[in-house]
Every structure is written in structure tokens, then in C-alpha cells.
Amino acid sequence: MARVPLPFAARVAALACAPFAPASTDIAQAFADNIDPFVTANCVKCHGDEKQKGDFRFDELSRDLNDPATAIYWMDVLDIVEIGDMPPEDAKDRPSNEALSAFTNTIRGALRAVAAAHNKLERPEIRRLSHSAMDHTVQDLTGVALPLSTDLPPDPLVAGFDNIAETMTISQEVMAQLQKNAHRVAQFALPADQNPTFAKTFADKDLGVGKAVFNLGDFRAAFSNKNLSHAFYPADFAAPFPGYYDVEVLGFAMDNREIIYPNGLPDPLPLARDKRPLRKRIPANKPRYVQIRALAVLPDGSIPQGSGAAPPPARTAGEFQIAPKAEIHRQRVWLDAGETFYLQYGSGIRQNNAPIVEYKGKQVPIGEAIYVRAIGIAGPVQIQWPLPLVELTQAPDASPEEKITALLTRTFRRPVDATTLSLYQALFDERYAQTNHETAAYRQVLEAALCSPRFLFNYDDGPANQSWATACRLSYFLWNSMPDGELFNLAATGDLVDPSIVGQQARRLLADPRAQRFVEDFTGQWLNTRHVGKMVPDAKRFPTYDKNLEDAIKTEPGAFFGEVLRRNLSVSEFIESDFAMLNERLADHYGIKGVSGSEFRSVKLPRKSPRGGILGQASVLTATSDGTRTSPVIRGIWVLENILGGHVSPPPADVKPLEPDVRGALSIREMLEKHRTVETCSDCHKKIDPLGFALENFDPIGSWRDSYVVRKTEDRPASRSPIDASGQLPDGTEIDDFASLQQVLLAKCDRFAATLTDKLFVHAMGRLPTIHEKHVLEDLLAAAAPQDYRLADLVVALCQSPAFLNAEASAPTDPVIAAISR
């Protein structure tokens, strides 16, 4: 039952709505006429004095909707009856549909009337930038891809989102690190040097190699080893500037044993220097990867060697697949100023000393190795030069005061008043007096501006500045970054209060490539795909799972959402679609033929493919598993919360948690059946489990399976048992398998559209909707229903809604409310 446990209720209410004013007597009358008789006839037997199923009783529930906590309870009542969970399907004398809708309409009408009357009370709107928003903003402001969020402690997730105003706190730890980062950003946003962009090829003597790398003429060869002695690197290179660099590698990887011994391996095998024969090999069809590991150069400009057998501390900046034929591999990697990198063959056979044999007159190492001819570097790329802030601060014919004003206006996304300006002007003067260096003084201003709450927060500061606030809300929602010139110009005219202009701008922003930032940010949180890879699947059981597949799995939801958004398709595509967004690796994983290359593209799916929609995507299926086994409970809750907008309370504190015991060889279905015999467990699990069971044909990495593998134990051999994906929902709906689950969910597409819109609202506003705003969203959905809830239309409508524009809502139009408020 979707009930808020009491200790939390007040909190939710405070967030959801401000305290209400006194109720109208009309509402009391409506309750007496329509609610009380219904409750007495249908509810109190299980939720009253005698029994308190779900820990909930009607007889003690207040009718005073002015009390926020009470209002929340009634909203839950409404939800549960509308979903069809209550009254139970098997109840004797179940009320007629007419009686049910009279009941729900009265509650809804009363809630709407009360909520609308109280929506205008003050609530916090100020909201700190999320980490990704900070970084995108710095990139757009300075033209430099320099993260401001480096080493900041992660913000907690609320409802899966990390951009909820309530929990995006600032502590000493955050502030100290932010200032450090702002200082660095300022150095590079206003650099002393000229354009650092360069391109160079590192071959022959410029190709640095570890001491165990073989020189075979044009190519150098190394074995798989983490030690720097088996690495390749650009000699005497350090990135002059932080940013993205295109790295090219001409090379290949192969096992040369077949070439050297075309008639089979000799017996005995040649021995390595450590006297061990080289027996191991990797299957030819298994993909091989090379890692690009980045690290800071030493003060003398050389690459750190690490200590003893251990490699130097470095981070993986990129990775590419390598094949047995020589070709150029291209990777874009981010390097900090002063960083270099080395190449490491990570997926060959770990080996220190190769046996060396004579082949065609040359001493050749045998075994699996990587061969590199040259490394090319070009960059930094994606950088506007001259940098925008350099241009701004070096503008001729402008006074420092004008330049500081321009700098602050862009950074703060608002006009700057004289008092504020004087603070930063004083900072400029102080630094200029110390250094006699204008650039240093502007850097100081920028550093402070990046630490200022005017940069770190978005906020509403009154009707006069409403257009500026809306410009930011639009750009941070749809680009996850600051407004561009056009939005700034519109804000200055004050026109961004007009819903039709806001609608045009929303469509313009959605058509811009920067909208992909919104898509990635939103899908990563909504579908929890950021979770993919946190529990790495067991390599023995899932040998096909590797970094490349993981990347493809993580990319699919964003690509799919982006496609639905771009084509303005119905949100029902998220439940079932006849296409999927795939690349070769993911298509292989799904057993879909005819897709080649690493680019994602729209692929028409074969009939009856389970891969159309999000539920058949490996991302969701992997994120809801623990890397070893699937959990119908976790997956069921996922479907309930993300598709149906339902929610379940955590198990009550007095219920002893199940300690899983696999020794009895119970299947997950048998374990859960046992669990459901306990009444306290049954109420929730009968809602959750059938949804999860329907997904059991997908294994922990989202591959299709028809049976379980039952692991062998001391007293039984390994075996297989068939999967039963069927189940029955509390309202009696039968589910046979995954395809029938999709049909069941399609029939509830209204609820899904509402759920998705709710999540979009949370993402856009950084808070939960108030009760009144929920009603506004309902109206917005009702308007979108005839076109089957097209995604882009929904997003635009949300941007035009009163909450988004911080405008007063129009009067409610529902006839029931009209009747009650009369």
C-alpha cells in the first residue's frame, strides 16, 4: 500500500504543499454525501477497528484536507483505487464502476479545490547546479573543457535524481574543493600563452617504449602487461592545455604462433626466460583492447616509471578495440595540462618474458602481442580560439569596469547591480595592485565569480527578473547548461514570460545538439543506467560481458530516448516499439544480425523481438540485477515505480528480513511463494512479483534465456530448470510472458505517461510537484492524450506550464471542482 509511514508524512507534506487555509463547508458536505457511506460499505472491514490491513485505518483518518499530511493520505487512497488495487478483486459485493468513479471524483475534486486555493504560498526555488551542470556551464562559458566538479563528493540520489534542490548541499568540504577547482579553471580560461593547439606524429625515435618492448623494424611489439616496461608512449610529450585530444594509433594485435608454426606447435615448446612454456592462448574471436592510461609527467618532463614491478598510478582515459590487421585507431581522450599517456595491451595473455625464436633471419618473440608503428596526437579539440573570455577581457575600447560587468553578467546569467559590481571591482583592484597584471586580476574576478552563489545557484528573484529566471530554467532543463546569446537577448526584452515564446524557444533548444546533454542526464537517472557496471557481472558465468559491451549497454537508453524525442513519437514507444537503437556489439548481444560498426543507429526489429521499448534493453535489465542473479523483486519494483508510477514502502521494521538460504535448492519463484504466505509481505509482493517474473527470461546481463542453470553442489549435479514467466496481478489480469506484460502495460499507457511527466517535472524543477501542480500536470496530460502523448510535445508543454514559468495557474476547469467551489 502506497502509504507514507507516519514519521515521514509531515516531511513529504511540507515539500508537497504549504499549509492549507480552512476548508469550505462544501467539501465537508461532499464527503458526508459520497465518501462516508462508500467507506463504511467497502473499506472499514479491513481498514478499521477490527483489522488494520496495510497498517492503515479509515475510521481514524481525518477528513480535514487542510492538514497536509491528511491530504497526502487521501491522495494515496485515490491512487490505489484508481490503479485497481483496492477494493480487492475477490471482495464480496465489490462496488459498481459508477460508485467507484463517484468516490474518486469526489476526492479528486476536493483535493483540487483545496490545493488550488493554497498554491501561492512561498516555497524554496533556489537550486544549486548539479555536478554535470557545473561542468557544462564552465565549458560553455570559457570554451574550455575543464571540470569544475572534480573531486567533489557525490550528491545523494533522491527518486533516482542527483539534481534535487533539497539535497544538493554545500559543505566546507565542497566549498574548499570548489574554490580550488575555480582557481584552476580561471588560470586556463584566461591563459597567459597563445593558442596551444598542435598536431604531431610520434614514430621511430619519438615513439617512447618500455625496456621490454621489441624493436622489429617499423613496428615495435609488446606483450600484455600492466608494467610500464611493456608500454608505448609519445616521447617528451605533455598536454600543454587541459582538454580533449584526438589520439591515433597505427597498430595491430595478433598471436603469431600459427604463422611461425604453420604445422602446429613444436614439442617441447620453446621456453621463456623464466623457463615456462607459452601454452595459454585467447580464443581468436574474443575482442582485444588497448587502454590509454593518462598520468602527469615528472617535473623534468619524463614519464613516471612506477616503483618496482608496480605501474605508476594512472587513470584510464580511453580504450579501443584492436584487430590482427594494421590500421589507424582513433580515440578522443581528455588530458589535463601536464599529463601524458601510455598505451597498454590489457587483454592479451599476461606475460613477462616471451620465448624468442629465430624466424626469417630475425629474433622474434612468440605469442600474443600488440604491434605499434606510430602514435599521433592532435588537440586540444572542441576549443573556440581565441577563448571567449580572453576576447571579452582584451576587448579594445572597453574599460575594466565594463569588462568586469560583461564577465559577471555572463557568469551570473543576470544583469549585475552596482553594489555587486563594486565587490568584484575591489577584488580586481586589489589583485592588480599586487601584480600589476591585468589578466591575473581578471582571473581573480572569475575565480570569485565561480564560487559565488550567483553562479552556483539558479533562483527566482522577483517578477522584474522573471524572464532571466525562465531563460536559465529552460537552458538548464534542456541543455543542462547556461543560456546562449539568443536566450539572453530574449531575457533582456522581458518576453520570456509569454508561453508561446517559451514554447518556440523550447523547440529550438530541443533541436540543438546540446539537447543530448539533457537526454543523457535524464535517462541516466530516470532509468538508473548509471548503475550499470557498478556490480560487474561474474566473468566466469558471463564471458561475453566486457567494457565494450558495457559501454554499448549504457549508450542504448540515451540513444533511444533521443530518437523518440527527435521524432516526437508517442511515449508508448518506451513500452513497445518496432525499432531499437543499436550498434554492432549490442546487436550481437541481442542476437540481431546485419548491424555493423560501432555507431548507434535505428534498427527495424524482427517480428516478436523482445528488444523494442526500454524493458527489453540490457541497461535496465542489468541495472536491476546484481551481476550474479536476477531478482524478480527488484525488477518488479522497477516496473511498478518507473512505468506504473506506483510505489511500495520498504518492509516494515518488525518483519525479520529473509535470510536467503539456497541450500534447499528452492527456485526464486518457490522462495517468493513462501514469502507471500506471510500476510504482511503478501500485500506488497503480490503487486511486485508478477511484474518481475515476466522479466525472468532475461538473464543478469539482459540476454534471453529459456531455462535457469541450477548450480551443482556436493549432493547434486548441475542441471537446468525451465523458466515460468507467468503471473497474476492483484486486479486479476493474467500475465503469460514478457510479450503479454508489454500488452498489459500498453493498456496502462495513461499511467506511464503520467509517471514519465512527473519525472520530467522533478528533473526540470529540482523538486516534487505540489498537490496543485500535480493537478496542472494532469490537465497537461489530458491535453496530450488525443495525440498519444508525443514526447517532445510533453516536454514543451511542461516548459509552458505555470510552475515552470513561475506564473499563477489559471482557474481549475474540472466540473467537479467548479461544483464544489461554488
Binding site: V4, P5, F8, R11, V12, L15, E122, P124, E125, R128, L157, V158, A159, G160, E166, T167, I170, S171, Q172, V174, M175, A176, Q179, G306, G308, A310, P311, P312, P313, T419, T420, S422, L423, A426, L427, E430, R431, Q444, E447, A448, S452, P453, R454, F457, Y459, D460, D461, M535, V536, D538, A539, D626, G627, T628, K656, E659, P660, D661, R663, L768
Partner: protein, 425 residues
């Protein structure tokens, strides 16, 4: 040079003045009565806390027998040589804490404040034992406290400050070594940098006050939090300034990379021992998270520590889990011996330290927060015993005894109902 428009600069000059007359300006933040209290009847002057994120397998942890005649359990066997310098406490936990993994960070705070925002639950926390005692114990050290970790995986934080903000452990030997023992290459430049940084913070703080006037009252609360954080940074900077030109202790160079969980754990524990030995701090918390580096046990790669903790009673998986936990205890045992073998005045580092090892999870497999594994070692406490408390004894009762034995005048801590002075003091 300062502008007449900017009182912030004047305020900074004022702060500087205080810094010049009082050697350690951060003393202000220490309750003087507590700070001045002499350490009577105990030789322990520091507190070292170790927390295991995933708990310890109960059947392999709890010793058999109680009192002085207890028999070491399999997981405690690596501590056999130290039997008389350790005690195990069982049937003890934080009675109000539940929530499985979410409750585990309450290990050192005893407080569990779930807050429901919509359908999500966010766990708030309050000050932990180590942070409570840190300002007093470490008042003359370079670092008020240190938070270390076996790996760089951002697992649970075991230290939470006064405002309930987590302080995450640093698991990188390189960075901890640098922090503790590598001198600032150019202290004068750092000093200048600090001054410039203060100008920035002063201006920003003043700007916040201006902004606060432009936004709604509800928004002002959130700005207040921001302004508090700036003032906190300014306090921290004062401490930093007091130490910036003082030389750091010098220690022998050591290899600072390790490929596996337990090799890194050993390295980090050595750094913890060095931090104690050089008196860089007297308060330290150390977390053993549920992963972050490959785990090799007896040469066998164990992939999924968290998976093992949910063993479902499968004997093979239980054996793997216990092997991982035994590896923790072997390294921890070496650490204790290392402290015992290092002299500290007339005594040794083990005698002069109070050490707590445990977890906020009683049983990882069932996500239970009951009956936590708790082990004590070091000075100031009566050891060589297994204390089986009455079921449901608050762990914070033990914290009260620990604080008192550290010479801190407190008789309660987060929901404590008494103390364990009779049992262990």
C-alpha cells in the same frame, strides 16, 4: 589595498591580527573545560576506529565462551598473539538503527535519521565518535583527524561531522603519503595563495549576503547553509596557515602502489601507523569498503565481495567470504603488532591508543543491523575477555566508557543508556 566599499577586507585584517597574537587560533573551537581536563587513570591519548562496510560473518566471528576463558573464533585467530590486549563485545548494537546497508554508516554515530523525500529515503547522520573527540585529542596536531580507506572506492563514510556531513576515507597511499610527509615545495607561495583565497572568500561571502536580500525567505535558508560553509573554510584555512611553514615529519621512502585489496590495505595501515607514530593526528577512522580493488585470497581471485556477503548459506560461498574476512584480520593483526612493537615514551603505541574495530552490519547476508561485531584493543581498557552483553545493549554505552577513558568528560552519547565501565574500564 582595499576599497572603502568593502568591509570584508577590514574583517580579514582583523582575523589576521588574532592569528598573530594567538599561536593556534583554532583553539577557540575547543570547549576549554574539556580540553583542559587531565587524562587521569589512562594512558590512552588517541582513538583509532576501523569499520568494515559489509560486516563479519557472525558464525565465524563470535568467540565461544565468555569472560576471560573465551576461545578465539576462526576470524579472530590471527590475533592469537594479542589475546591479552584485545576484548570482544557481543550482543551490542544501535537499537534504533535498521535499514541494512543504509544503516551501516551509523556505526560510529548511533544515529539513523531516515528522511523520506517523495518515494526515496535519504539517510541523515549526526556526529560520529571520532569527530566528537577529535578537537580535543588532536588539538596540537597538524590534522584534527584523518579518514583513510582500504581502497579508493567511495564506499560508506564512517566519519560524519557536527553538521552530519560525511567525511570520506582516502584510499590512495600516494595521496595520503603526500599529505602526511611531503613538505610543501614553496610554503611562501602557499601562504600567498591562502591570502588570495581569503580575499575571494570574503568577497563571495559578502556577495551572498547581498543575494540573500533578493530572494524569498524560503530560499534564504539554503543560502545560509552556503554561507556557513564559507565561514567553515575560513576556519580551516586558519589552521592550515598555522602549520604551513612547519616542516612535516620525515619518514623512509616506501613503495606507494599495490595491485590488490589486501596489499593496499596493508600499505594504508602502515601509513596509519606512521601517522600515529609521528603524532600527525590523534584521531583516525579507517574504512574497509566492499570492493574497489581485485581481491586475491591465497592466490585465488575472488570477484564479487558484496555477492559473497549474500552467500545464501551456500557453504562454498561462505568459505570464500570468510577467507576474505580472514585476510582483513591478518592485516589488522599485523597493524596491532606494529603498534605494540613501536615505543611511545615509556610505553608503546598500542598501549597509548584506543582501538575500535567493527561494523554497522551484524549480518550482511540478511542485511541485519543487530548484534554488531565489535572488537577493542589497546590502552586504557581491561582486555583479554569476551563480554556478552544483555541482548540489545546500546553500543553507545561502550562509546561513553571509551570517551571517559580518553579523559573526556561526557556521560552520554547518542541514545546511550549508561556505560560499560564495570565490564571493561
Amino acid at each position: 589595498m582595499s576599497s572603502p566599499l568593502s568591509p570584508a577586507f577590514a574583517r580579514r585584517t582583523f582575523l589576521k591580527g588574532i592569528g598573530a597574537t594567538i599561536a593556534l587560533p583554532f583553539l577557540e573551537s575547543v570547549p576549554l573545560a574539556a580540553a583542559a581536563r587531565p587524562l587521569i587513570g589512562t594512558s590512552a591519548k588517541r582513538l583509532l576506529c576501523f569499520g568494515v562496510t559489509l560486516g563479519m560473518h557472525p558464525e565465524s566471528w563470535v568467540p565461544s565462551g565468555t569472560g576471560n576463558d573465551f576461545k578465539l573464533s576462526p576470524l579472530l585467530s590471527p590475533l592469537a598473539d594479542l589475546r591479552d590486549q584485545i576484548s570482544v563485545v557481543s550482543n551490542i548494537d544501535h537499537p534504533s538503527v535498521s535499514g541494512g546497508h543504509k544503516g551501516a554508516p551509523a556505526f560510529l554515530s548511533g544515529t539513523y535519521l531516515p528522511e523520506r523525500i517523495g518515494e526515496s529515503i535519504v539517510i541523515n547522520n549526526s556526529i560520529t565518535l571520532d569527530q566528537k573527540v577529535a578537537p580535543i585529542l588532536s588539538r596540537d596536531c597538524r590534522f584534527e583527524s584523518l579518514q583513510l580507506s582500504a581502497t579508493t572506492k567511495p564506499g560508506d563514510a564512517f566519519s560524519w561531522n557536527q553538521k552530519g556531513i560525511p567525511m570520506h576515507g582516502d584510499g590512495s597511499p600516494e595521496s595520503v603519503f603526500k599529505k602526511l610527509f611531503v613538505n610543501d615545495a614553496d610554503p611562501a607561495a602557499t601562504e600567498r595563495r591562502i591570502q588570495v583565497g581569503q580575499s575571494v572568500l570574503d568577497a563571495v561571502l559578502e556577495d551572498s549576503a547581498l543575494l540573500a536580500r533578493q530572494v524569498s525567505r524560503a530560499d534564504q535558508d539554503r543560502l545560509d547553509q552556503y554561507m556557513t560553509s564559507i565561514r567553515d573554510v575560513e576556519m580551516q584555512i586558519e589552521r592550515q596557515r598555522a602549520w604551513v611553514s612547519k616542516e612535516k615529519p620525515s619518514v623512509k621512502r616506501m613503495a606507494l602502489t599495490a595491485p590488490t585489496y589486501h596489499a593496499n590495505l596493508q600499505l594504508m595501515m602502515e601509513l596509519a601507523a606512521l601517522a600515529v607514530q609521528t603524532d600527525s593526528t590523534r584521531t583516525l577512522s579507517f574504512s574497509l569498503p566492499g570492493g574497489g580493488l581485485p581481491i586475491d585470497v591465497d592466490g585465488i581471485r575472488v570477484n564479487d565481495y558484496h555477492g559473497q556477503s549474500h552467500h545464501g548459506k551456500d557453504p562454498k560461498v561462505v568459505a570464500e567470504l570468510v577467507a576474505i574476512e580472514l585476510a582483513h584480520m591478518k592485516v589488522f593483526g599485523k597493524f596491532l603488532q606494529r603498534l605494540r612493537d613501536t615505543s611511545d615514551g615509556d610505553s608503546n603505541l598500542l598501549e597509548t591508543s584506543q582501538i575500535l574495530f567493527g561494523s554497522g552490519l551484524g549480518n550482511g547476508s540478511s542485511h541485519s543491523n543487530r548484534n554488531l561485531p565489535i572488537l577493542l584493543a589497546g590502552g586504557g581498557l581491561r582486555h583479554g575477555q569476551h563480554i556478552a552483553c544483555p541482548e540489545g545493549t546500546p553500543l553507545t554505552n561502550l562509546f561513553v566508557t571509551m570517551m571517559q577513558r580518553l579523559g573526556i568528560d561526557e556521560d552520554s552519547f547518542a541514545g546511550s543508556t549508561g556505560n560499560l565501565n564495570n565490564e571493561i574500564a
